[in-house]
C-alpha cells in the first residue's frame, strides 16, 4: 500500500475516531487552542514591538554617522563618568572633518537648543531650534513641503531666516501660509522660508522644530554650543570604513596618543538596532518559552488522550493487524489522529488570534502575518506528531495475539 493511500485511510479513520469522541476531542483540542493562541499572540506582539521600534528610529538614516560628546547608549555608570570627561565637539573639529574626509558625501554641524516661539498671539513654550547649514537635508533626509530650505548664502551670512516643521506650521498658522511670515524665537525675529514635510511616526522627528542658519544660531542663542557632526557616507557599503576614517581624523585633530581611548563618540542607527534586538530577543525568548509551556501542557494532554485512545482500541488494533495492517500503518493512523486534533486546535487558535490581534493594534503595529499563521499551524501539527508518537509507537508494536485477547 503506498504512502498516499495510507495517508488518506489514516485521515478517514482519524476523522471517524475524533467524531466518535466529540467531548473528549473538544477538551483535548482546547489545551492546544490555548497553547497555540498564546504562542501566536506572543509572536505577533514581538513582531509588533519590532516594527514600532524600527518606525521610531526610521528618521535616523542608516548611512549617517553622528559625532557627539556622548554615546547615545550609555550602558554603565563607568561609561557615563568617562563620557562626562570628554571635551565638547567644536566647530574647528567640524571644519577638520569636512576638510579631511574622503569617504563622506556630506558633513553637517548641528547645534540644538529648546526655545519658546511666538507668532502674534499664538505660541509654544518650547520648540527645538537647530542651527545648521544648507547641507542638513542631505544627512537628515528631510524634504521641504513648501518654500525652500536654507540657502548657502543665508547660511554663510547668517541671515535671520528659518525652516519650520510641519506640526509647528499647522499649530502657528491655522489657515494662512507661513511662508514669508515672521515668527519670534526667544524674542528674535526669523522669517520663514520653508515648511518641512511631516515625518510622523518617528520619535526623533523635526515636526516641531525650527531650523536656522548656524551663524545666526551662534549669534542669537548659544555662542559655544555643543555640536553634533553628522557625516553621511558616500556609500552605505563603506559605512565601516567611513567610520574608521572619521575616527582617525578626529583622533589626529585631538592629538590622542595611539592606544588611548577615544574621547568622543561616533553614533549610528545600528547601535539602537543592536541594543533593541538584544533586548527584544531576550523578551522574545522568555515570552515564547513561557507561552511554549502552555503549548507543552497541551501536548501532554494530547499524549495522555492518545494513550487512552490506544488502550481503548487495543482490540481494534489487534483486528487491523490480524487482517494485514503493518506497524507503519498503525503508527501512521494514530499519528495522523494526534496531528489532526492539534491542527484543528491550531486553526481554532488562529481564528481567535485574528480578532485579538485587531485589539492589539490599538497599542502597537501588530499584524497576524502569514508567517506567523504558517508557523502556528506547523507547530500545532508538529506538537501532535511529537506527543502522539509515543502512544502511536506503543500501538504499532502491539502483539496481535495479546491485542485480540484484550477485552
Amino acid at each position: 500500500m503506498n504512502f498516499l493511500t495510507e495517508l488518506r485511510e489514516g485521515l478517514l479513520i482519524s476523522w471517524s475516531a475524533i467524531r466518535a469522541n466529540k467531548l473528549r476531542s473538544v477538551l483535548t483540542t482546547l489545551g492546544i487552542v490555548i497553547g497555540i493562541l498564546t504562542v501566536t499572540l506572543m509572536g505577533t506582539a514581538i513582531e509588533g514591538l519590532n516594527r514600532s521600534f524600527v518606525n521610531s528610529i526610521s528618521s535616523i538614516s542608516t548611512d549617517v554617522l553622528y559625532v557627539s560628546r556622548q554615546n547615545w547608549l550609555i550602558m554603565s555608570r563607568q561609561d557615563w563618568l568617562q563620557s562626562q570627561k570628554n571635551p565638547k565637539v567644536t566647530l574647528p573639529e567640524f571644519e577638520a572633518v569636512q576638510r579631511n574626509m574622503t569617504l563622506a558625501a556630506a558633513v553637517v554641524p548641528v547645534a540644538n537648543v529648546n526655545e519658546p516661539v511666538k507668532y502674534h498671539k499664538r505660541g509654544s513654550s518650547s520648540i527645538s531650534v537647530f542651527g545648521t547649514t544648507e547641507q542638513y537635508p542631505a544627512t537628515s533626509g528631510l524634504t521641504v513641503a513648501s518654500g525652500r530650505f536654507l540657502s548657502a548664502a543665508e547660511c554663510d551670512s547668517g541671515r535671520p531666516v528659518c525652516v519650520i516643521g510641519f506640526d509647528m506650521a499647522t499649530n502657528l498658522f491655522r489657515n494662512e501660509s507661513p511662508l514669508g511670515e515672521k515668527i519670534s524665537i526667544a524674542g528674535h525675529e526669523f522669517e520663514i522660508v520653508g515648511v518641512l514635510e511631516k515625518e510622523g511616526e518617528s520619535s526623533y522627528n523635526d515636526d516641531n522644530a525650527a531650523i536656522v542658519p548656524l551663524q545666526q544660531y551662534l549669534y542669537t542663542f548659544q555662542h559655544v554650543p555643543e555640536y553634533t557632526i553628522q557625516v553621511k557616507a558616500k556609500n552605505i557599503d563603506q559605512i565601516d570604513d567611513t567610520k574608521e576614517e572619521l575616527r582617525a581624523v578626529l583622533r589626529r585633530f585631538r592629538h590622542i596618543a595611539p592606544g588611548d581611548p577615544d574621547n568622543f563618540a561616533i553614533n549610528q542607527q545600528d547601535q539602537f538596532l543592536e541594543l533593541f534586538h538584544r533586548v527584544a530577543g531576550t523578551i522574545g525568548l522568555v515570552g515564547l518559552f513561557i507561552t511554549g509551556l502552555a503549548l507543552f501542557v497541551g501536548g501532554i494532554g494530547i499524549m495522555n488522550i492518545m494513550f487512552v485512545s490506544v488502550a481503548e482500541r487495543t482490540r481494534e488494533i489487534g483486528v487491523r493487524k490480524a487482517i494485514g495492517a503493518k506497524r507503519r500503518t498503525i503508527l501512521l493512523q494514530f499519528l495522523i489522529e494526534a496531528a489532526c486534533i492539534c491542527l484543528i486546535g491550531g486553526v481554532i487558535a488562529i481564528l481567535i488570534a485574528w480578532p485579538a490581534t485587531l485589539v492589539m493594534q490599538k497599542a502597537m503595529p501588530a499584524t497576524l502575518s502569514p508567517m506567523i499563521v504558517g508557523t502556528a499551524l506547523l507547530v500545532s501539527a508538529l506538537t501532535g506528531v511529537l506527543s502522539g508518537f509515543f502512544p502511536a509507537w506503543r500501538a504499532a508494536r502491539m502483539n496481535p495475539v495479546d491485542a485480540l485477547r484484550n477485552e
Binding site: 500500500m1 493511500t5 466518535a20 481494534e316 483486528v319 490480524a322 494485514g324 496481535p400
Partner: protein, 228 residues
C-alpha cells in the same frame, strides 16, 4: 505439496519464572481444500496452534511452511503481509470495527492490500452479496444481528481470496439456529474449494468438518477423518 506443513513446532511462554510449553514439537500437514477441526480443552494449546497457523505468533522452535513460504523466519511486517494475503480470520466475537459499516469492514483487508478504492468497493459488495447481505451493506455492526455480523466477518475473511479460512469458535456467540446457518455456509465454502480450519471445543461443530485434530497438553492426541 501440502498447503500447510508444520515440522516439530514448539511454542514456549515465559510466565514469571516458569516456562510453559504450550506446544511440544507438533508436526502436522494440511492439504489444500481440506476442512479441518482442531479440538481440545482449554489450556491444551489449541489457541496457540491457531495463532501460529494464522501467523499471529511465531514459534520458538520448528518450521512452518505456508503455501511454499517459510513463515517461521519472517518479521512482523512480512507476517502482516502473509496474514493479509493468505489468511482469512473469523473470530468468536466477530471483531468487526464498530464505527464502520459492513461495506467498510469488508473493504479493510483490500485497503491494506493496496487495492484502489473503486475496485475495492466492487469486490467488497460482491462478497457481501455472496453471504446474503446485499441489502445490509451500509449497516453498522450494532444494527446487525449476531448471524449477520458473523456473515460480514466471513465476507471480510474471504475478500482477499486467502489460502486458509481460520475460524476460532465461529458459533460460540451465536444461538444454535444461527450457528447451524454459519456452519452451512462453511460447508458451502468447503465445497467451493476453500481450505477451512475451525478451532472449537464443541463436538457438534467439529463433526461438520472432514478431519478432527485433537490437542492435549501441547501434543496431537489424535488426528482422524470424520466418519459420516
Amino acid at each position: 505439496m501440502s498447503l500447510i506443513r508444520l515440522q516439530k513446532i514448539s511454542r514456549r511462554y515465559q510466565m514469571g519464572t516458569e516456562i510453559v510449553h504450550a506446544l511440544r514439537e507438533v508436526t502436522l500437514d494440511i492439504q489444500r481444500g481440506e476442512y479441518v477441526a482442531i479440538m481440545g480443552p482449554s489450556g491444551s494449546g489449541k489457541s496457540t496452534l491457531m495463532n501460529l497457523l494464522g501467523c499471529l505468533d511465531t514459534p520458538t522452535g520448528g518450521t512452518y511452511e505456508l503455501n511454499g513460504s517459510h513463515v517461521s523466519e519472517l518479521d512482523d511486517n512480512q507476517l502482516a503481509e502473509i496474514r493479509n494475503r493468505e489468511i482469512g480470520f473469523i473470530f468468536q466475537t466477530f471483531n468487526l470495527l464498530p464505527r464502520s459499516d459492513a461495506l467498510r469492514n469488508v473493504e479493510l483487508p483490500l485497503v491494506y492490500a493496496g487495492i484502489p478504492a473503486g475496485e475495492r468497493r466492487q469486490i467488497a459488495l460482491a462478497k457481501l452479496a455472496s453471504v446474503g447481505l446485499a441489502d445490509r451493506v451500509h449497516h453498522k455492526p450494532n444494527e446487525l444481528s449476531g448471524g449477520q455480523r458473523q456473515r460480514v466477518a466471513v465476507a471480510r475473511a474471504l475478500v482477499n481470496k486467502p489460502s486458509i479460512l481460520l475460524a476460532d469458535e465461529p458459533t460460540g456467540n451465536l444461538d444454535s439456529k444461527t450457528g447451524v446457518e454459519i456452519l452451512a455456509l462453511f460447508e458451502e465454502l468447503s465445497r467451493q474449494g476453500h481450505t477451512i480450519i475451525v478451532v472449537t471445543h464443541e463436538e457438534a461443530v467439529a463433526r461438520h468438518s472432514r478431519r478432527i485434530i485433537r490437542i492435549r497438553d501441547g501434543l496431537i492426541a489424535s488426528d482422524e477423518p470424520v466418519v459420516k
